[in-house]
Symmetry: C2
């Protein structure tokens, strides 16, 4: 039975929540009085479908079902989570909360508020603490962080929020004290204020400010944030040295512009005009797609480096792989006579080329992941590799039979053609549904990582490979085996 969430408010944030829940297999019940709500959520969902499913290295469960409901009461009926993303006005939020209470829903209500404290949200609550700040960041379907803040009575709701959000591949950042605008928006607000001054005073245009960030410190903050970056800046002497060196700057005249710029029509026009000049040649939808492609690429690069948001994604993948039928040992395989499922994922945005389809080198990425999974299954584990044994690929032959696009669900099945001594001869078939997209034949050699020379694998690996080879020998020989490039079919 699928889990069900209610999404109250279907703007950019509410739509992002709807997409995140749906693509993680939840059914979603939406309340939003805007007659355009379905179209708007549909647009966010289209973006999310393009970006999120390929983000991790393990496929997501089948997408849930979205329904729209005319009242809060109907939307929250029988759900396991309510996420409120109505406009940022306390009176509106309180009105919706009273409707939730009247409908008899007693579970956690996550509020997407960027500014209100949980004590404000819970004013007048029948069950104090039910309304919990769960503040996400746009695009909600890709960025993992959610600020979670509760009043003391809401401790159980914090635990529930952590459970639900982690299940969506998100990172619940539990703040122990409440404060206006939580943490991230305090920092954003500080930058926004300073940036408005810089534009207003004619020091820099919006584009110059953006370039100062994205060609510079933005690339640092995306991976390490502020303090870890400065820790490095302090050098071997560390954080104390950094603070001794740069702390006093706080009292230099740089800090003089801390009052708030007057928010006049002229300032709005100045900023909006500069922003048009900078990015007006791209529609918001185009900018969103560019942003999402970059975000997917960043997070996937960080996953490769086992760092930051990518390390989070890897943890989430490992938790989910068993659900997708991906195993880690021969004993988990059950029967071993069929080709082994070694990859089950979606083609991610960073796998495309200028022809608009999955680029050829990414097929080899998929086959490499397949060979890695097979190695794991036969006992060539990370520990085994750390102890100095591994397999290197000596030879690969790939046939491209059909195209794949971003978002395509793909699977690789692998069989062992032979395994004798140092050699492992394997065969991969990459499919989208029933369509065979590519095959790869590979010869891998077991090596000692110390000598970099061929060596025999440990006995348990040889035995597992032998069992698979013997079982797979009963299958018909794959079409294309032993083929050379350009040979007649």
């Amino acid at each position: 039975m699928r889990k069900v969430a209610a999404i109250l408010g279907g703007g950019v944030i509410g739509g992002g929540w709807a997409a995140r829940f749906l693509l993680n297999g939840w059914d979603v019940r939406v309340f939003d009085p805007d007659p355009q709500a379905e179209r708007k959520i549909g647009e966010v969902l289209a973006n999310a479908r393009r970006a999120l499913p390929g983000l991790g290295n393990v496929a997501l469960p089948p997408e849930g079902k979205m329904t729209l409901h005319p009242t809060v009461a109907e939307a929250v009926s029988g759900v396991e989570w309510v996420q409120e993303s109505v406009p940022e006005r306390l009176d509106i939020k309180h009105k919706v909360f009273r409707q939730i209470e009247a409908a008899g829903y007693t579970g956690t209500v996550g509020s997407s508020t960027s500014g209100f404290k949980p004590s404000e949200l819970n004013k007048g609550a029948a069950k104090p603490g039910q309304f919990t700040v769960c503040h996400p960041f746009n695009p909600v379907y890709l960025l993992p962080v959610v600020e979670v803040v509760a009043v003391p009575e809401g401790a159980a709701n914090v635990e529930r929020a952590k459970e639900v959000l982690s299940g969506l591949g998100m990172y619940p950042l539990h703040l122990k004290k409440e404060i206006d605008a939580h943490v991230a928006d305090r920092l954003l607000e500080a930058v926004w204020r300073e940036a408005l001054w810089l534009v207003k005073d004619g020091i820099a245009s919006t584009e110059e400010i953006d370039n100062a960030m994205r060609y510079g410190f933005g690339l640092r903050w995306a991976q390490m944030g502020l303090f870890e970056t400065y820790r490095i800046a302090g050098g071997e002497a560390g954080m104390k040295h950094f603070m001794a060196q740069f702390g006093p700057c706080l009292t230099w005249p740089w800090t003089k512009l801390m009052d708030v710029p007057e928010f006049t029509d002229e300032l709005v026009d100045l900023i909006a005009g500069q922003s048009d000049a900078q990015s007006g040649h791209l529609s918001i939808r185009e900018l969103e797609r560019i942003r999402d492609g970059n975000l997917v690429g960043f997070i996937r690069l960080l996953a490769q480096n086992q760092w930051g948001a990518g390390a989070l994604q890897n943890e989430h993948d490992v938790l989910r792989e068993a659900d997708m039928g991906l195993v880690r040992s021969v004993s988990e395989l059950g029967e071993i006579s069929s080709p082994v499922l070694t990859v089950k994922r979606v083609v991610p945005l960073d796998w495309l080329d200028y022809n608009g389809h999955m680029t050829e080198a990414r097929y080899l990425d998929a086959f490499t992941a397949a060979a890695d999974r097979l190695m794991l299954i036969v006992g060539c584990t990370p520990e085994y590799i750390a102890n100095g044994g591994s397999f290197f690929t000596a030879e690969t032959h790939i046939r491209h039979l059909d195209e794949a696009k971003a978002g395509d669900p793909i699977e690789v099945h692998t069989r062992v053609l032979s395994a004798e001594g140092k050699k492992m001869h394997i065969w991969h078939e990459l499919r989208r549904g029933d369509t065979l997209l590519a095959t790869a034949e590979q010869m891998l050699i077991h090596v000692s990582l110390k000598t970099r020379a061929a060596s025999v694998p440990a006995a348990h690996i040889a035995e597992n490979l032998g069992r698979l080879a013997a079982a797979h020998a009963a299958l018909p020989a794959p079409e294309g085996k032993g083929r050379s490039v350009g040979a007649p079919r």
Copy 2:
């Protein structure tokens, strides 16, 4: 004759400048009275050698030579650029400037100052405007942005700075008005101030603040900065809508904490202690290598997406490819009887796997780049592809003969084995120096991008391919051609 730069001050920033100049083929003359200077610069240079050469898709020129000099006068003698990175005290900078003047150097002096205005730097200058703010960001060898600010008399120095910095693959951000701390450090200062309050008040730890950034808005700023990100947040209604919605927040109580926290020992200890708990298990050198690996990966991902810092890198690559012997047409090849140089690059950090060497799929990245270069040379240009013709790879056979590591310079030479009708049969050899690391045999098929079916290429492409095939037919057949996986040698 190699260009020569003087680097005055060899700390983290000066060392980063030294590395950036050296790896871009400049000789570097260093002045730094610190007896540890050579060791310190050597450590920065080691990091830079690991990260920068592979960043672009075109190899860098041979590394320049670094010499250390006991006086400013000797260091600046006969150089084409002086970069000052001495401690951030105006009296020290002025003293060094007077020594530069006394030595008779009259060219541009770039100052790495993060805080001083050019009018302050040029106080007492013999040649007003000679001292130009060229403020880089750590690590200088990877981050492209440099804030360039001059007094009105320094206009020619700004032009010179743009020329030199662009030649180093950097992005000179010319600020038209001077201001304390320029632009980027204004923003950094605002965040630093706010973050100190959040830690001091016990709202969040340094790690929680870093996580709020790197799992959230940091990933946005790395690609788009502040204003372009908010432009998207405004949705179809755009920047004005965003400002109408969020501008008023500036006067909310969030802004109350704009005074400066008192910089007590307790605050320093609190922050340093939290930072140790967060990152103390990694040395500064380890953190630097992690940071650099992520930065290289981010910029390369952005290059793939032709966006932000990656788009800058692509421009820089194109400007440099001819110097490296990479051509764009058959006519530029000169004689056509030898295999064509199709890749000349360095193995980048993001091409490694858990075995510590270049991972197998990246060999196919290199061969794909080689085939793309050959396509360009025979006339399958971006315009041709935009008009609906291209080549798809049908089949690839790779032999891995030796390993490659990050930083290895590699070349691919490609020959046309045959080209008849829709088919192009090619052979790549990937070498590090004289060592053959891998070969690839590929069959590509010309397709119509409209029908996705095979089609004959345009006449000019067929003719160019035919000429190359005929010329290459005179070469001995490559060893390994026509091989299938596992065939006896």
